[in-house]
Amino acid sequence: AELQKFLEQENSKARIQSQIHTFTQLCWDKCISSIGNRLSNNEEACLTNCVERFLDTSIYIVKRLESQQHH
């Protein structure tokens, strides 16, 4: 049971890491236009908001699908 719990946690970590790569790609494309000596405040805020709003979007879609199935 300990081993299984360990493997499940690693599995969950692998999924999270894979999501981080996907989100970095998506939000890099949306938020970064030119390459400077540091990220601007706007770019940093855009990256954080991009992750948060993408997750909101996913939740919105699932909730709306669920509500439609109850009609």
């Binding site: 939000c27 949306k30 991009c50 709003r53 909101d56 979007t57 919105y60 879609i61 699932v62």
Partner: protein
């Protein structure tokens, strides 16, 4: 049970695709919350993506049935 997993995988993939495509189309400048115009856009985009998915499915399945004998695909 194979069939249930298939249905689940299919629904999950559709949700992912809608998420990617509609986020790109509707949230052009991500801000501190989803505003109501973004939510309206997401709702429409979702419906249109599912319309497109249905049309594409119909066109593809019709074509397969025209070209391939039924017993091969089990449709």
């Amino acid at each position: 049970q194979v069939r249930a997993e298939l249905a689940l995988a299919n629904a999950q993939e559709l949700i992912n695709k809608i998420g990617d495509n509609c986020f790109t189309k509707c949230i052009t400048k991500p801000s501190t919350k989803l505003d109501s115009s973004e939510e309206t856009c997401l709702a429409k985009c979702m419906d249109r993506y599912m319309d497109a998915w249905n049309i594409v499915s119909r066109a593809y399945v019709t074509r397969i049935q025209r070209e391939v004998p039924n017993e091969m695909t089990g449709l």
